[in-house]
Symmetry: D2
Subunit: 427 residues, 4 copies
Amino acid sequence: MAIDQVAAERLIGQFERIRSLSEKLASKLQNEDTIIQAMPDVSPPKWHLAHTTWFFERFILKEKNPSYVPFNPKFDYLFNSYYETIGSYHPRHSRGVLSRPSMDEVYAYRDHINTEILSLLKNYEDQLPKEVEDLIEIGLQHEQQHQELLLTDVKYNFSCNPLLPSYTESSSSTDHTNSEQKSQVTEIKIEGGLVEIGFTGAGFSFDNERPRHKVWLNAYEISSHPVTNGEYLSFIEAGGYEQPEHWLSDGWATVKKEKWKHPLYWRKSEDGWYTFTLTGEKKLNLDEPVCHVSFYEADAFARWSGKRLPTEAEWEHAMSSLPIEGNFVEEESFHPMVGELYSKSPIKKAFGDVWEWTSSPYTSYPQSKPLEGALGEYNAKFMCNQIVLRGGSCATSKWHIRPTYRNFFQADKRWQFSGIRLAGDLT
Amino acid sequence: MAIDQVAAERLIGQFERIRSLSEKLASKLQNEDTIIQAMPDVSPPKWHLAHTTWFFERFILKEKNPSYVPFNPKFDYLFNSYYETIGSYHPRHSRGVLSRPSMDEVYAYRDHINTEILSLLKNYEDQLPKEVEDLIEIGLQHEQQHQELLLTDVKYNFSCNPLLPSYTESSSSTDHTNSEQKSQVTEIKIEGGLVEIGFTGAGFSFDNERPRHKVWLNAYEISSHPVTNGEYLSFIEAGGYEQPEHWLSDGWATVKKEKWKHPLYWRKSEDGWYTFTLTGEKKLNLDEPVCHVSFYEADAFARWSGKRLPTEAEWEHAMSSLPIEGNFVEEESFHPMVGELYSKSPIKKAFGDVWEWTSSPYTSYPQSKPLEGALGEYNAKFMCNQIVLRGGSCATSKWHIRPTYRNFFQADKRWQFSGIRLAGDLT
Amino acid sequence: MAIDQVAAERLIGQFERIRSLSEKLASKLQNEDTIIQAMPDVSPPKWHLAHTTWFFERFILKEKNPSYVPFNPKFDYLFNSYYETIGSYHPRHSRGVLSRPSMDEVYAYRDHINTEILSLLKNYEDQLPKEVEDLIEIGLQHEQQHQELLLTDVKYNFSCNPLLPSYTESSSSTDHTNSEQKSQVTEIKIEGGLVEIGFTGAGFSFDNERPRHKVWLNAYEISSHPVTNGEYLSFIEAGGYEQPEHWLSDGWATVKKEKWKHPLYWRKSEDGWYTFTLTGEKKLNLDEPVCHVSFYEADAFARWSGKRLPTEAEWEHAMSSLPIEGNFVEEESFHPMVGELYSKSPIKKAFGDVWEWTSSPYTSYPQSKPLEGALGEYNAKFMCNQIVLRGGSCATSKWHIRPTYRNFFQADKRWQFSGIRLAGDLT
Amino acid sequence: MAIDQVAAERLIGQFERIRSLSEKLASKLQNEDTIIQAMPDVSPPKWHLAHTTWFFERFILKEKNPSYVPFNPKFDYLFNSYYETIGSYHPRHSRGVLSRPSMDEVYAYRDHINTEILSLLKNYEDQLPKEVEDLIEIGLQHEQQHQELLLTDVKYNFSCNPLLPSYTESSSSTDHTNSEQKSQVTEIKIEGGLVEIGFTGAGFSFDNERPRHKVWLNAYEISSHPVTNGEYLSFIEAGGYEQPEHWLSDGWATVKKEKWKHPLYWRKSEDGWYTFTLTGEKKLNLDEPVCHVSFYEADAFARWSGKRLPTEAEWEHAMSSLPIEGNFVEEESFHPMVGELYSKSPIKKAFGDVWEWTSSPYTSYPQSKPLEGALGEYNAKFMCNQIVLRGGSCATSKWHIRPTYRNFFQADKRWQFSGIRLAGDLT
Ligand SMILES: [Fe+3]
Ligand SMILES: [Fe+3]
Ligand SMILES: [Fe+3]
Ligand SMILES: [Fe+3]
């Protein structure tokens, strides 16, 4: 099976747009910034730039052309992230020691692979095999994921520097604080029943979103808005971080061990609360969606509120017909906003702003099949001890998210733009 | 609401039987054995004896009688396991330093509380409040859980002693190895649809088993037997522990970190495989159910087999009509057996022998409610990063298990009598 | 070379006295107490009883009689402490899991080896080889060292139990608090020059005390008394634990990491300071020598005082002519005392009460030779990262100590009866 | 007291030469290289450049001029290394997260401080206070120490990168391999007696080298040459790393824990041994001095050889009259060499090539006085758990070393250019 000329050109356009966005995002950094790794969960920006490139080289150029000569044979070891079945790799927690290849070399690597992929695409002309198209598509989706990680990782890295560097200047055009009304939160009632979730139809989806399948849902309600900083601050001020009754056992242990008193990046000063953002530290805006909370905090907040988190099926069922609109990376705010950009639905901010923790552990869908070969490691092997998040964030590309999209992190992670939407039972 | 005389007498009988079983199980130990804690997951036998007693004292005697004078006021600190909302407690990992109270004192404590509870029961006569009955019932169920833990913990403790002590003598009357045929494994096909799981009706159940609720199941198959040592050995010999493709990411990391090569308690000798049991080390019987595997190993074995683990809903749906028969602690084999004791069903060994790992993370059932007060901490706060096991084991009491019963442990735990039953999709 | 009848009988007497003291010390414990190990530095009392016995079996019975049949062949693995050159051994930090052999078995082991050694001694009659005598002597000195460790280890173990058990009743006859005057501290001036230290002459000494050798000492002064609790409390109250300028870099890091605020076993209550002792917790007596301080604390206290710790050569030179008198284990006070028992010297409490930290790292003396064979591992291999202490303590046997005796621990250890004597330069 | 014009000009010249050498050494790096910290013991090159600058700012500009406005007030926190008494500081192990200030900013900082110091020097003219001169001198000595660390740290950082980058090109003019004869090792006999060690006289010395004082030395011998790679390889091939009898207890534990099989940077390939150097990986030259061994390895090698390490007094007494000649950083070999450059003495390579481990723990000299104020923290507080090394290395400046110079590291450190010279007793 092959794809036609128009599709090929669309793919070439996508390839160029997405690949160049990575470089645009990195261009705001100094060379020294591109190599740091302030904790094992984050990767140095340079590593993201090289790894996403290696992904195309390894899974397309090398797989499809047995005589392909690698750009540098050691890059398989350096830039393989976690694909066990194709060979050993540099330990994740040591990516920060790789000052070489230099940024110049990484850009040369990117250029080289871009040329090779584009020449592949152009050479196939009207007969590009579906399988190659799929691989390029997954390579681009993969690069979009790493673009979000690059931003979250830079934010974390910079937050560890007492100089509190800014990734970029605040863009006033993206500040919606004053032009928007604080919205009234309402609870949307949803009927439930035997519904279906999961991806079906045309377009890209990851293997973990498939197949579409039946799920029974009791009637439930879901909040119109994500929880705000102000609402979360009430929890803090009510002693939420000192009261074990709201917390999961592992969550409470983490609170005590890590001495958590508030979300990541918050700081209490004499004149009130501040939060660190990609545009520097700023006064905490109480009307913005709360962000950089762990699942443990989201779950404790919900229990303290007399509510609960939605399951991922409830979330998807509620959001499945909403348009993909919101505060995405394309807005270049790099931070959750007050107010909505477009939404006319009663449910606000379903997409963009903050990833929303669900109550669902990340597991495989019934009868799901991972991809063949090493790419089967892309998602399936992480289906243990992680929690699903939905909806994308201010660091996600608008072109990357779907109602069926499943993100996932461990319950104690906070460096992603992760927030809270409440749900409840109806009886 | 109150319970009548017959019920009260039944409860007294149960109380006496269950309480004395703990002492019978402990009586096979020397005093020195009762204090060791070879890893943080296990508790010293003496601690189990005292903690289960404290449970009656704290949640019944103290709650129901404000003027109750505690046996020893420091026992609240020493023998509270994890109830955060009623006060601080001795750190779990340090239970092995508590040489005092001595065994003599702990037995005096048990006698004292037994007398108090029985006098409470006898004094109420025909008007025992339902609430007190429920608390005594949960106290007895709790004690049964700790009886199983006492055995698994002694087994672990003894396995760390190069002298490999036996907990008890092997009872030949419980050796079914030679008298039973090796059974033929078959795959039982089950139709699925919109089914119900969860406890309903009379009798005791834990809050985590309720409410009964609808679940959609695709048609599936489930194995007639748990996986045997022989089948598991094929996985080992095929290189299963060296091949990352079968493993979850966290599982593979654990295999490498812990240098796992086989289930816990197995040892390869020049003349073949041995396994450590509560009756000492013995030759590995290939026809016995495999035991002391982690969820990671169960999952990897299933994937290697081209199968999968059942979800807990599939497991419960398949087993819900089977009689509660099997190799329980009452058999005093203290080890999984070859062959069945009674079952006429095509599904064998659903109960007893080994706990069966499901693929389901431990989460709350829709619209479930934890118990009121501190006992709400009993189950609900552990619903994160744990996996459900079903069916009970050779260390479980026959009178403790139900088809709806949910056990749960972290994915890397192996010291319980945990085994594997396979399932698969039908298309 | 052989020893004569009288010497043999003296050795038999010593053997019986020292061996039975171990059992007397252990007799105050319950069986459960004999197996606990509350931190890796301590050993369970039962392990001490067995290890000291194994020492005689392994280094005498087995070495001297090739046909000797061991009491239990696994004891070589279980009760070898650290002799790498004779085989592998049970990991030190896991001694607390060894509930077996039971105390009954360990006593049977002791009896068996006692009988064997005594029969060996009696059989040699007037021709006991010097080499065997030396080995028995070292075995007895070794047992005396473990008698002290048994007491310090029980104290530590009990201190971790919130019930704060007493090892023994306080013996009023050994309480010198009221009968003695608080002594006046003076500084004793000592001339120095080219002096000699190290053991020479008859009687037992360890290899680390030899050979006697020349050392140049500048004139110095040394305090007449060890530092008292009251003096140390002034350091605490002056903020000593919050001021980095007094501390070695490693010491300050330890203070912060361990959150040290006072010596081990001290507790501040509303009505003043308490300290835990082998006879239970009691009010801190300000006139007693301070005890259970690390080298870091001793060194910081000295610097804060405008003084310094003595070198081991200064200590030995000052004390070499004093009689071996003091508060030893034979007093059964099990705690440092106020006042002196006998001393007529201007230097008080040189021996007994508390081990005194010197400023000297533990290194080998010039031209020293470790013992031949595995016993060469007894002392020499520990000559790195340890500090010398001198003088013995209230848990040391009077018959064990000498002016040349070198004890040694890491700079952060506090569970020994370790205290402080100040010194200073004279110009 | 003040210094005269000539001295001031000499100091200005020194200042310019030493400060610019740091920049010359750093100029071989790419910006990305300047920020990595591959283990807590090393610091990023950029940090060295900034910290040495801060040293002048903090201890001279700020101390001497109360109205001095700091270049950046946060640099006190960022670039204070360990001076507890002047304020808190960025944790050592996190220096690798400081991508900012950028290299450009650090160079601006250096220029600014250089200008300030030179202007200070020039303004004083013929009346520069001795105290300021001393502070500048110590600042320059400090910078020289960090120049050596910069090289050792870059070497370590690069060794962790699978690309094995070279710091610089190998300079053939510094390769003495072929032009020199392999030297004959002899044992130099030295008489000992009551000798003196420690610095006295004119010129700079650190407080830890003073005061000169008497030490008694027995007659001893010391090797004419440091131990070579070939000699060390014999130890490896004889099983030295598998035989506990040669090792200190802590050393053996380290060998097992770290799985040491050879010196740091060695690698065994099919065609023999390689070693990583600042000019890339190269074939191991058996005639070069062995390098990058820990004290544990040096001590074990010496014991295996039937010798011992010299004490620092023995070393200093033997070397005190030798000229300061050798393979220093000025040679730009950045690696120990075969053969001597100049020495006519029977003792070869006393200075340069490799630091030589002594057997002496690092302690204060009798009656020594640390510097006043915060600079008292420079040396004295590290006098615990460290071992003295003598003689300088190929990464030390010729103008920095003295016979009385005391370097010190923990016994397990290997990333310095540390080697071995043997000694022995004479009887
Ligand atoms: Fe990736
Ligand atoms: Fe419990
Ligand atoms: Fe010993
Ligand atoms: Fe420095």
